[in-house]
Amino acid sequence: MRGLWKLIVVELKLYLREPAATFFTIIFAPMLLLLFGTIYGNKPNPFFGGRGMVDVSVPSYIALIIISVGFMGIPVATAANREAGVLRRFRMTPLRPAAYIVSNIASYYVMTAAGVVALVVVGKAVYGMKFEGNILSVWAGFTLGSLAFFALGYLVAGVASTARIAQAVGMIAAFPMMFLSGSAIPLEVLPQSVRNVSRFLPLTHVVTLMRGLWAGEGWLKHQTEVAVLGGVLVVGIILSARFFRWE
């Protein structure tokens, strides 16, 4: 695994040098929180089980960050690197393919986590956001959700023939999911007919899991979410490995 650390550091630097990627990962969700926080405040609301708008939005927005990295960041960057011949150049070194993939995933994971930290800091500092869960549990849930969606992102990159197609596929999949899964708009606000559809979107399960763990619910109450996301992760890994191409 020679060069692995160096590669992770370089990947992180490159990520921070892409204004669009940095914006959607680190700035977008806190900005949204400030926007809706200003409009609705964070007063306890029986509609959200006695929690405020911000208390509910923060765990939901985590899903928003996850999908923007998984469906908009990873597919485009991976396909573009393949298209330009960057992956080819790496392949001509003794670097193991596994090391390349691991460093890639690690840098996305760190950036996604940084986005979550920024979101939590804004929620806490500006709105005194409530957190009733266990940090380790939330972290584990976040990790499961992130990795499942990263796997789908690599699958999109592998299936799409070009970066442009990867971008289109990622966006077409991401935008409806953002609005129908309860990540951008709380599920409680959506009509029952929409919520019936939402159940079939993997991102809904990230939202439900994160909100539940955030509120201090146990894992036993979320077996469905864990099963769905675990399934997505396993199938995603198998398929993305199957479709991954160096050139």
Partner: protein, 303 residues
């Protein structure tokens, strides 16, 4: 021991036999060139040697290693410049060197490399800001970063202007002087003639000739040509009588005298002078690898 051995290499893409029984050996310390038109099978051959492609048949050995089964070990010891590759646009030259150096057990001094390749003052520039020639030089620096035993250069100077191309040739010669074996492909015959110790001419996936550029040209036993322009047409007959002249062509005020042997030029110029014939733009043309290719394949080698 040979640096590279290729024995009966075969590789097809569907019905196309890209490489059809290529066989040769490369000695340590030489600049070996594979020349031929685009699509002749050069890149496929070099990519099989680098372990990037799996041959359909034949035996390959690079530094005694099998590129397919011992690819990682091989890549520690070779340097590669690919015909089509790239780096992230926002990665800086200095970072590129540091990153790639970290992939190898052994690494050369990257500051010195950038210096030698004329990239020292670009070390803080992003890859995307470099010109074509600078990118190409950076790729050569990357090919040398592990202090390799063999350097593979695939179409090194394609897309460069003539001046940059000549500068690149000097670089390659410099690399060889440091004791490296160089395996290159090119579709510029002039490049092969200038740079290579030995040349394999490849066409339709087959090696059609292999020797030093000098021997290949000599084997043609081709005529030298003396070309000049006239202000008015003259009779060919006196030229034909000159010793060594084989034939004379005259058209539109332009004469080409074909012939062999030393002193041909002197005799022709003296004949012109004594006959008081006024001529312009006199030059001589020696047969080149270009002519060798034409003679062997029956077609012009153009890009």
């Amino acid at each position: 021991m040979t640096a590279i051995t290729i024995d009966q290499l075969h590789k097809s893409y569907g019905d196309l036999h890209a490489v059809d029984g290529v066989t040769f050996e490369v000695c340590p310390g030489e600049i070996f060139g594979m020349v031929g038109p685009n699509g002749a099978g050069k890149t496929t051959t070099i990519e099989c040697l680098e372990g990037l492609r799996r041959p359909d048949g034949g035996r390959l050995s690079v530094l005694g290693l099998d590129p397919q089964r011992q690819g990682y070990e091989l890549r520690e010891r070779i340097g590669v410049q690919l015909q089509e590759s790239s780096l992230p646009d926002r990665l800086k030259v200095r970072e590129v060197m540091g990153l790639f150096a970290a992939f190898y057990r052994r690494s050369a001094d990257s500051t010195a490399l950038l210096d030698q390749l004329g990239l020292a003052e670009k070390s803080g520039a992003a890859f995307g800001q470099l010109s074509g020639g600078q990118k190409q030089r950076l790729f050569i620096a990357l090919a040398l970063i592990n202090d390799p035993e063999i350097v593979f250069l695939d179409e090194l100077t394609t897309g460069l202007d003539p001046q940059a191309r000549r500068a690149m040739w000097e670089l390659v010669k410099g690399v060889r002087e440091r004791g490296k074996t160089i395996f290159l492909t090119t579709h510029y015959m002039e490049e092969a003639e200038h740079l290579c110790d030995r040349v394999a001419i490849i066409d339709h996936g087959k090696v059609v000739a292999l020797d030093t550029p000098r021997n290949l040209v000599a084997s043609l036993d081709a005529e030298n040509r003396i070309v000049f322009s006239l202000e008015a047409p003259v009779d060919d007959a006196p030229f034909r009588a000159i010793q060594g002249v084989t034939r004379v062509e005259q058209s539109g005020g332009r004469i080409i005298i074909f012939g062999r042997g030393d002193g041909l030029l002197v005799r022709v110029v003296m004949a012109l002078d004594s006959a008081k014939i006024r001529f312009r733009d006199l030059r001589t043309e020696q047969p080149s690898l270009e002519d060798v290719f034409l003679a062997l394949t029956g077609k012009e080698m153009r890009d």
